[in-house]
Subunit: 383 residues, 2 copies
């Protein structure tokens, strides 16, 4: 995609809080502090702080959603959606994106230095949940002087955080855009995550999490990531991208990568281990598996938050199938929450939320205009 | 399931052939010999050798399809389908099942002793294909004095072997029953196999295949098997079996198996490593990935084999989706081959071919009666 209408050069920022003895109380009852949060902002906060939108990243994502760092040509992961004139229009909105705690992209996580021991936390890092990640974001949003977010938006695990904002801080958001996500993981989703964790922990180089002096458990982590990538694509998008094309003529070399799809997965696995911490892999996948806002947990009985919803799913997404988005919508409708639902026709599978920018942009642009009162009521797509 | 109408106590038998210098020529051009084939038979071959049915096992299966070994209560893997009065009726038919070469259940494979070195072949074992497996079966069938099989039947990789019989020896079979299978692996199917292989080879205990003196690469092989089991079940059958039930209260123990589905996969992985050779895992999955009878390869141009087909698929099977069975049927119909197709309504996913015995039995029983001339023409289900 082009860099036209980019937000331009961007700096990563840091917000530090929860200094002892004021550590953050986590959902598990454990405490964590100090906490560093890596974040970025695009656009300008208006005078009444009413134009802020929080972007939530997915499992292996980070705070770098748009623009480029100095000396780096690669734009942020949702650059096509965020910028002047784009759906998340930085001429209108103030966009915030932060790295989740438990991660490894600048925010405090298992690879961070434990202040008491001067060594990485490793498995002494407390269990963190999606609610803990959102609680940290609430501190950041308060720090930025924002009382109410115009919207919270994200796909996959980002969508879980969006839903968690509704459950935890319904008075602090005007609207929510959960994309390709679920109220809770199914056993199949847990199973894929668990096999990934088992692959990491099966690698002797994992050393029960204490590998920081010796290097990552690269082989196990690469296998885990390969499994992930199969689930991110659809049967059809793999067929279109790879078919049964052979990588090179090496039929005599046993168990090398013959097929292009094998080479692709291997490449994805090998690059992942260079950018992602194995313990963060364990902590964050577990946070997703524990996540459960089904029943009355998203919206407590006898409450009706003034939050409007745009729920988006993709037809070929078999990791977060459309029926899970429909379960969110059914729940919201049963509580008379203003909800717009769209199932986008795409062959890209779960990856679609990062790829089908044009279709998403159309929906998001109109929804945000409607939420901010620019064009009256929501325009269709409701089920 | 009950042991009523069992074929009773069964002995494993062995057929030895391809003694040097008469080794078997493999598809790769390499030679293999001597070859030992483990097989079992149930029922009695009739005088004109016209009642023989060859049963083909799936990836990790073996020759023990029915009955029990002396001192073992566990019946063979398709015991509910094979026996007196059952769909594969041993009062009428002579049933044969053999272990594939490349495997580890009695037939020659990478864990067999190389006659030249007195050590296991390991990776010096030649690449074997589905065509090689079937070629060996043809030698066994000849050895048993059978010129023409009444039918060849099998699910999953067993179905690939069924199709290969049509391609390799169309004059030697009267009918074919491929179940839950495909003409060729899609990139997604290759990808799942490849991740399994990578998990095995990532285990340092694999030792480039030379682990026989030290024990299996258990952790890598277990991870590979866990991936497999996710693909054998459906999203819905996992939901019905496990939901989000917790295994035990151990939320404070990090990264243990919290959810029942995790415990199930772990158990399946751990038991698999006790019964299956890691190198066989590599060889056999690769044979499946190389398999390709699309286009004119199943039935050469200008040929019309006198083989009747019953093709079976299962609605919730997402590993071998029904569209792949339909591709087989379309190909057969375009060549005017007598073909019956049935898509069985099941929630069991790919496992259905081992589980939905009653529904399969009905179809198979009628088809075989029709093929053996007991009740005239095929009765319906054609598309």
């Amino acid at each position: 995609m082009s860099n036209k209408n980019s937000v331009g050069k961007i700096d990563k920022k840091y917000f530090n809080f929860a200094e002892p003895p004021n550590e953050l109380l986590l959902e598990s009852g454990e405490k964590l502090g100090p906490i560093k949060v890596a974040y970025e902002t695009y656009g300008t906060l208006n005078d009444d702080q009413s134009n802020a939108i929080l972007v939530e990243h997915a499992f292996s994502g980070d705070a770098h959603a748009a623009g480029c760092y100095e000396g780096d040509e690669k734009p942020g992961w949702w650059d096509d959606l965020i910028g002047p004139g784009k759906a998340l229009d930085t001429d209108k909105y103030f966009i915030i994106c932060s790295n989740v705690i438990g991660g490894c992209k600048g925010s405090t996580g298992p690879s961070s230095i434990h202040p008491g021991t001067d060594k990485p936390y490793a498995l002494t890092f407390p269990v963190v949940t999606i609610a803990d990640m959102v609680k940290v974001q609430k501190h950041l949003v308060n720090h930025l002087g924002i009382k109410k977010l115009l919207s919270v938006i994200g796909g996959s695990m980002g969508g879980m955080q969006v839903l968690q904002w509704v459950a935890s801080y319904p008075e602090s958001i005007l609207s929510a855009i959960p994309i390709a996500t679920t109220l809770k993981h199914s056993p199949q989703q847990i199973a894929f995550n668990e096999v990934g964790r088992q692959a990491v922990m099966a690698d002797p180089a994992w050393l029960n999490g204490n590998y920081y002096d010796y290097g990552q458990p690269e082989r196990g982590l690469a296998v885990a990531r390969m499994i992930g990538h199969i689930t991110y694509m659809s049967d059809r998008s793999m067929e279109e991208k790879f078919s049964r094309k052979l990588k090179e003529k090496n039929k005599n070399l046993k168990f090398t990568t013959d097929f292009e799809v094998e080479g692709y997965l291997k490449y994805r696995g090998d690059t992942f281990v260079k950018r992602f911490d194995a313990n963060s892999y364990l902590y964050i996948t577990k946070a997703m598996d524990y996540f459960d806002l089904s029943g009355d947990k998203l919206i407590p009985k006898n409450k009706k938050p003034e939050v409007r919803f745009l729920v988006i799913a993709f037809k070929s997404d078999w990791l977060y199938p459309a029926y899970q988005a429909q379960d969110i919508v059914k729940l919201l409708k049963s509580r008379n929450i203003n909800t717009t639902y769209c199932e986008i026709d795409s062959t890209y599978g779960h990856d679609a939320f990062l790829v089908e920018i044009e279709k998403e942009s159309h929906l998001i642009r109109h929804f945000l205009r409607s939420v901010s009162g620019e064009n009256g009521e929501s325009d269709g797509y409701s089920i």
